[in-house]
Protein backbone atom coordinates (compact mmCIF):
# COMPACT_ATOMS: atom_id res chain seq x y z
CA UNK A 1 0.00 0.00 0.00
CA UNK A 2 1.14 3.54 -0.34
CA UNK A 3 -0.82 6.63 -1.03
CA UNK A 4 0.80 10.02 -1.23
CA UNK A 5 -2.40 12.04 -1.20
CA UNK A 6 -2.13 12.90 2.49
CA UNK A 7 1.48 14.01 2.10
CA UNK A 8 0.60 16.18 -0.88
CA UNK A 9 -2.38 17.59 1.00
CA UNK A 10 -0.36 18.59 4.06
CA UNK A 11 2.35 20.01 1.87
CA UNK A 12 -0.27 22.04 0.00
CA UNK A 13 -1.76 23.54 3.13
CA UNK A 14 1.76 24.04 4.42
CA UNK A 15 2.49 26.31 1.50
CA UNK A 16 -0.68 28.29 2.19
CA UNK A 17 0.26 28.61 5.85
CA UNK A 18 3.78 29.62 4.90
CA UNK A 19 2.68 32.37 2.54
CA UNK A 20 0.05 33.72 4.91
CA UNK A 21 -2.59 36.23 3.79
CA UNK A 22 -1.94 36.32 0.08
CA UNK A 23 -3.78 34.05 -2.34
CA UNK A 24 -1.62 31.35 -3.88
CA UNK A 25 -2.30 29.83 -7.31
CA UNK A 26 -2.52 26.09 -7.83
CA UNK A 27 0.35 26.46 -10.27
CA UNK A 28 2.63 27.84 -7.58
CA UNK A 29 1.69 25.12 -5.13
CA UNK A 30 2.23 22.52 -7.82
CA UNK A 31 5.71 23.90 -8.29
CA UNK A 32 6.52 23.39 -4.63
CA UNK A 33 4.99 19.91 -4.51
CA UNK A 34 6.38 19.03 -7.93
CA UNK A 35 3.17 17.82 -9.49
CA UNK A 36 0.46 19.05 -11.83
CA UNK A 37 -1.81 22.00 -10.90
CA UNK A 38 -4.89 19.86 -11.51
CA UNK A 39 -3.76 17.40 -8.86
CA UNK A 40 -3.52 20.30 -6.43
CA UNK A 41 -6.93 21.67 -7.42
CA UNK A 42 -8.52 18.28 -6.89
CA UNK A 43 -7.17 18.20 -3.36
CA UNK A 44 -8.09 21.84 -2.74
CA UNK A 45 -11.67 21.00 -3.75
CA UNK A 46 -11.83 18.66 -0.73
CA UNK A 47 -10.60 21.43 1.55
CA UNK A 48 -13.11 23.93 0.24
CA UNK A 49 -15.88 21.43 0.87
CA UNK A 50 -14.79 20.97 4.47
CA UNK A 51 -14.17 24.67 5.06
CA UNK A 52 -10.41 24.59 5.54
CA UNK A 53 -9.62 26.70 2.51
CA UNK A 54 -11.12 29.66 0.67
CA UNK A 55 -10.67 29.92 -3.06
CA UNK A 56 -11.04 32.91 -5.33
CA UNK A 57 -11.40 32.44 -9.06
CA UNK A 58 -10.11 34.67 -11.80
CA UNK A 59 -7.01 36.75 -12.31
CA UNK A 60 -5.01 37.30 -9.14
CA UNK A 61 -7.08 34.59 -7.51
CA UNK A 62 -5.97 31.43 -5.76
CA UNK A 63 -6.45 29.88 -2.35
CA UNK A 64 -5.67 30.62 1.27
CA UNK A 65 -6.42 29.09 4.64
CA UNK A 66 -9.91 29.74 5.97
CA UNK A 67 -8.63 29.74 9.54
CA UNK A 68 -5.27 30.01 11.35
CA UNK A 69 -2.81 27.14 10.88
CA UNK A 70 -2.85 26.72 14.67
CA UNK A 71 -6.47 25.65 14.42
CA UNK A 72 -5.98 23.08 11.65
CA UNK A 73 -4.86 19.64 12.78
CA UNK A 74 -3.50 16.89 10.60
CA UNK A 75 -6.63 14.93 11.51
CA UNK A 76 -8.75 17.70 10.00
CA UNK A 77 -6.69 17.37 6.85
CA UNK A 78 -6.91 13.58 6.76
CA UNK A 79 -10.67 13.61 7.27
CA UNK A 80 -11.16 16.35 4.67
CA UNK A 81 -9.66 14.06 2.07
CA UNK A 82 -12.57 11.73 2.68
CA UNK A 83 -10.72 8.62 1.61
CA UNK A 84 -13.14 6.15 3.13
CA UNK A 85 -12.26 3.12 5.20
CA UNK A 86 -8.64 2.12 5.47
CA UNK A 87 -9.49 -1.58 5.61
CA UNK A 88 -12.15 -3.30 3.61
CA UNK A 89 -14.18 -6.22 4.95
CA UNK A 90 -15.68 -8.29 2.13
CA UNK A 91 -19.39 -8.98 2.36
CA UNK A 92 -20.48 -12.59 2.62
CA UNK A 93 -24.15 -13.22 2.12
CA UNK A 94 -26.26 -14.73 4.86
CA UNK A 95 -26.65 -17.76 2.65
CA UNK A 96 -22.91 -18.38 2.78
CA UNK A 97 -22.19 -21.88 4.00
CA UNK A 98 -19.55 -21.20 6.66
CA UNK A 99 -20.94 -19.72 9.90
CA UNK A 100 -17.66 -17.95 10.66
CA UNK A 101 -17.81 -16.17 7.34
CA UNK A 102 -21.38 -15.11 8.01
CA UNK A 103 -20.61 -13.77 11.47
CA UNK A 104 -17.16 -12.22 11.50
CA UNK A 105 -17.79 -9.14 9.37
CA UNK A 106 -19.40 -6.77 11.90
CA UNK A 107 -16.79 -7.71 14.48
CA UNK A 108 -13.95 -6.83 12.14
CA UNK A 109 -15.74 -3.64 11.18
CA UNK A 110 -15.78 -2.56 14.81
CA UNK A 111 -12.15 -3.43 15.39
CA UNK A 112 -11.00 -1.62 12.27
CA UNK A 113 -13.09 1.39 13.17
CA UNK A 114 -11.35 1.63 16.52
CA UNK A 115 -7.93 1.20 14.96
CA UNK A 116 -8.57 3.90 12.42
CA UNK A 117 -9.91 6.18 15.15
CA UNK A 118 -6.62 5.77 16.99
CA UNK A 119 -4.78 6.80 13.88
CA UNK A 120 -6.94 9.88 13.45
CA UNK A 121 -6.52 10.75 17.10
CA UNK A 122 -2.79 10.55 16.71
CA UNK A 123 -2.87 12.81 13.66
CA UNK A 124 -5.03 15.19 15.69
CA UNK A 125 -2.16 15.86 18.04
CA UNK A 126 -0.26 17.80 15.41
CA UNK A 127 -1.33 21.16 14.03
CA UNK A 128 -0.43 22.50 10.63
CA UNK A 129 1.31 25.35 12.44
CA UNK A 130 3.58 22.91 14.27
CA UNK A 131 4.56 21.19 11.06
CA UNK A 132 5.36 24.48 9.38
CA UNK A 133 7.21 25.58 12.51
CA UNK A 134 9.46 22.56 12.23
CA UNK A 135 9.99 23.17 8.53
CA UNK A 136 11.15 26.71 9.31
CA UNK A 137 13.47 25.47 12.04
CA UNK A 138 15.11 22.96 9.78
CA UNK A 139 15.31 25.39 6.91
CA UNK A 140 17.24 27.90 8.96
CA UNK A 141 19.44 25.23 10.55
CA UNK A 142 20.27 23.98 7.10
CA UNK A 143 21.04 27.48 5.91
CA UNK A 144 23.44 28.11 8.79
CA UNK A 145 25.27 24.85 8.30
CA UNK A 146 25.33 25.29 4.58
CA UNK A 147 24.97 21.54 4.12
CA UNK A 148 22.41 18.77 3.94
CA UNK A 149 21.95 15.81 6.24
Amino acid sequence: MANSRLAIAIHTLGVLAFIGEKSVSSKMIAGSVKTNPVVIRRILANFVKSGLVEVQMGAGGGSRLARPAEEISLADIYLALDEGDMFDVPILEDSHQCPIGRTVRPILKEVFFEAESSLVKSLGQFSLAEVIGQVKERMSARYCEGTED
Copy 2:
Protein backbone atom coordinates in the same frame (compact mmCIF):
# COMPACT_ATOMS: atom_id res chain seq x y z
CA MET B 1 -8.35 3.21 -0.52
CA ALA B 2 -9.53 -0.16 0.65
CA ASN B 3 -7.64 -3.35 1.11
CA SER B 4 -9.26 -6.55 2.28
CA ARG B 5 -6.05 -8.46 2.93
CA LEU B 6 -6.16 -7.84 6.67
CA ALA B 7 -9.77 -8.98 6.89
CA ILE B 8 -9.00 -12.14 4.93
CA ALA B 9 -5.92 -12.73 7.07
CA ILE B 10 -7.81 -12.48 10.35
CA HIS B 11 -10.60 -14.61 8.97
CA THR B 12 -8.04 -17.22 7.91
CA LEU B 13 -6.40 -17.41 11.32
CA GLY B 14 -9.85 -17.38 12.86
CA VAL B 15 -10.68 -20.59 11.04
CA LEU B 16 -7.46 -22.17 12.30
CA ALA B 17 -8.27 -21.06 15.83
CA PHE B 18 -11.78 -22.34 15.49
CA ILE B 19 -10.75 -25.79 14.31
CA GLY B 20 -8.01 -26.13 16.90
CA GLU B 21 -5.41 -28.87 16.69
CA LYS B 22 -6.21 -30.39 13.34
CA SER B 23 -4.49 -29.21 10.18
CA VAL B 24 -6.74 -27.30 7.81
CA SER B 25 -6.22 -27.22 4.05
CA SER B 26 -6.07 -23.97 2.13
CA LYS B 27 -9.04 -25.22 0.13
CA MET B 28 -11.20 -25.45 3.25
CA ILE B 29 -10.19 -22.01 4.43
CA ALA B 30 -10.86 -20.62 0.98
CA GLY B 31 -14.35 -22.06 1.23
CA SER B 32 -15.01 -20.18 4.44
CA VAL B 33 -13.52 -16.92 3.16
CA LYS B 34 -15.04 -17.40 -0.28
CA THR B 35 -11.92 -16.91 -2.30
CA ASN B 36 -9.31 -18.97 -4.12
CA PRO B 37 -6.96 -21.35 -2.25
CA VAL B 38 -3.95 -19.62 -3.76
CA VAL B 39 -4.99 -16.33 -2.20
CA ILE B 40 -5.07 -18.09 1.18
CA ARG B 41 -1.71 -19.76 0.62
CA ARG B 42 -0.13 -16.44 -0.24
CA ILE B 43 -1.32 -14.99 3.05
CA LEU B 44 -0.34 -18.11 4.97
CA ALA B 45 3.18 -17.75 3.57
CA ASN B 46 3.45 -14.44 5.45
CA PHE B 47 2.36 -16.11 8.66
CA VAL B 48 4.84 -18.94 8.29
CA LYS B 49 7.60 -16.40 7.81
CA SER B 50 6.66 -14.61 11.01
CA GLY B 51 6.11 -17.79 12.99
CA LEU B 52 2.37 -17.51 13.58
CA VAL B 53 1.47 -20.61 11.59
CA GLU B 54 2.93 -24.05 10.95
CA VAL B 55 2.33 -25.72 7.63
CA GLN B 56 2.63 -29.36 6.68
CA MET B 57 2.83 -30.35 3.05
CA GLY B 58 1.48 -33.47 1.44
CA ALA B 59 -1.65 -35.55 1.86
CA GLY B 60 -3.55 -34.81 5.04
CA GLY B 61 -1.42 -31.72 5.49
CA GLY B 62 -2.47 -28.12 5.93
CA SER B 63 -1.87 -25.40 8.46
CA ARG B 64 -2.50 -24.68 12.12
CA LEU B 65 -1.60 -21.99 14.63
CA ALA B 66 1.95 -22.13 15.94
CA ARG B 67 0.82 -20.75 19.31
CA PRO B 68 -2.45 -20.30 21.21
CA ALA B 69 -4.98 -17.83 19.81
CA GLU B 70 -4.80 -15.99 23.14
CA GLU B 71 -1.20 -15.10 22.33
CA ILE B 72 -1.84 -13.78 18.83
CA SER B 73 -2.92 -10.15 18.63
CA LEU B 74 -4.41 -8.44 15.61
CA ALA B 75 -1.28 -6.30 15.57
CA ASP B 76 0.82 -9.45 15.13
CA ILE B 77 -1.37 -10.32 12.19
CA TYR B 78 -1.19 -6.86 10.67
CA LEU B 79 2.57 -6.72 10.99
CA ALA B 80 2.99 -10.23 9.60
CA LEU B 81 1.34 -9.11 6.38
CA ASP B 82 4.28 -6.74 5.94
CA GLU B 83 2.37 -4.26 3.84
CA GLY B 84 4.82 -1.41 4.18
CA ASP B 85 4.01 2.17 5.00
CA MET B 86 0.39 3.23 5.03
CA PHE B 87 1.22 6.69 3.72
CA ASP B 88 3.76 7.50 1.10
CA VAL B 89 5.83 10.68 1.16
CA PRO B 90 7.17 11.53 -2.29
CA ILE B 91 10.88 12.22 -2.51
CA LEU B 92 11.98 15.64 -3.68
CA GLU B 93 15.63 16.01 -4.52
CA ASP B 94 17.81 18.42 -2.63
CA SER B 95 18.12 20.37 -5.83
CA HIS B 96 14.38 21.03 -5.84
CA GLN B 97 13.69 24.73 -5.99
CA CYS B 98 11.17 25.13 -3.17
CA PRO B 99 12.69 24.99 0.32
CA ILE B 100 9.44 23.67 1.83
CA GLY B 101 9.48 20.76 -0.57
CA ARG B 102 13.08 19.99 0.32
CA THR B 103 12.47 20.08 4.04
CA VAL B 104 9.03 18.69 4.79
CA ARG B 105 9.58 15.03 3.98
CA PRO B 106 11.34 13.80 7.14
CA ILE B 107 8.83 15.67 9.29
CA LEU B 108 5.90 13.98 7.59
CA LYS B 109 7.69 10.64 7.82
CA GLU B 110 7.89 11.05 11.60
CA VAL B 111 4.28 12.10 11.95
CA PHE B 112 3.02 9.25 9.81
CA PHE B 113 5.16 6.78 11.69
CA GLU B 114 3.57 7.85 14.96
CA ALA B 115 0.08 7.68 13.51
CA GLU B 116 0.64 4.21 12.15
CA SER B 117 2.11 3.14 15.47
CA SER B 118 -1.11 4.23 17.16
CA LEU B 119 -3.08 2.12 14.77
CA VAL B 120 -0.91 -0.92 15.44
CA LYS B 121 -1.16 -0.32 19.17
CA SER B 122 -4.92 -0.25 18.88
CA LEU B 123 -4.95 -3.50 16.93
CA GLY B 124 -2.67 -4.95 19.60
CA GLN B 125 -5.45 -4.64 22.16
CA PHE B 126 -7.44 -7.43 20.54
CA SER B 127 -6.39 -11.05 20.49
CA LEU B 128 -7.43 -13.58 17.92
CA ALA B 129 -9.06 -15.53 20.75
CA GLU B 130 -11.28 -12.57 21.60
CA VAL B 131 -12.40 -12.19 18.02
CA ILE B 132 -13.25 -15.88 17.77
CA GLY B 133 -14.95 -15.69 21.15
CA GLN B 134 -17.24 -12.97 19.83
CA VAL B 135 -17.91 -14.95 16.69
CA LYS B 136 -19.00 -17.91 18.79
CA GLU B 137 -21.22 -15.71 20.94
CA ARG B 138 -22.99 -14.22 17.97
CA MET B 139 -23.27 -17.54 16.23
CA SER B 140 -25.12 -19.08 19.15
CA ALA B 141 -27.25 -15.97 19.65
CA ARG B 142 -28.23 -16.13 16.03
CA TYR B 143 -29.01 -19.81 16.26
CA CYS B 144 -31.26 -19.29 19.28
CA GLU B 145 -33.19 -16.46 17.66
CA GLY B 146 -33.40 -18.29 14.40
CA THR B 147 -33.12 -15.01 12.50
CA GLU B 148 -30.60 -12.48 11.25
CA ASP B 149 -30.06 -8.90 12.27
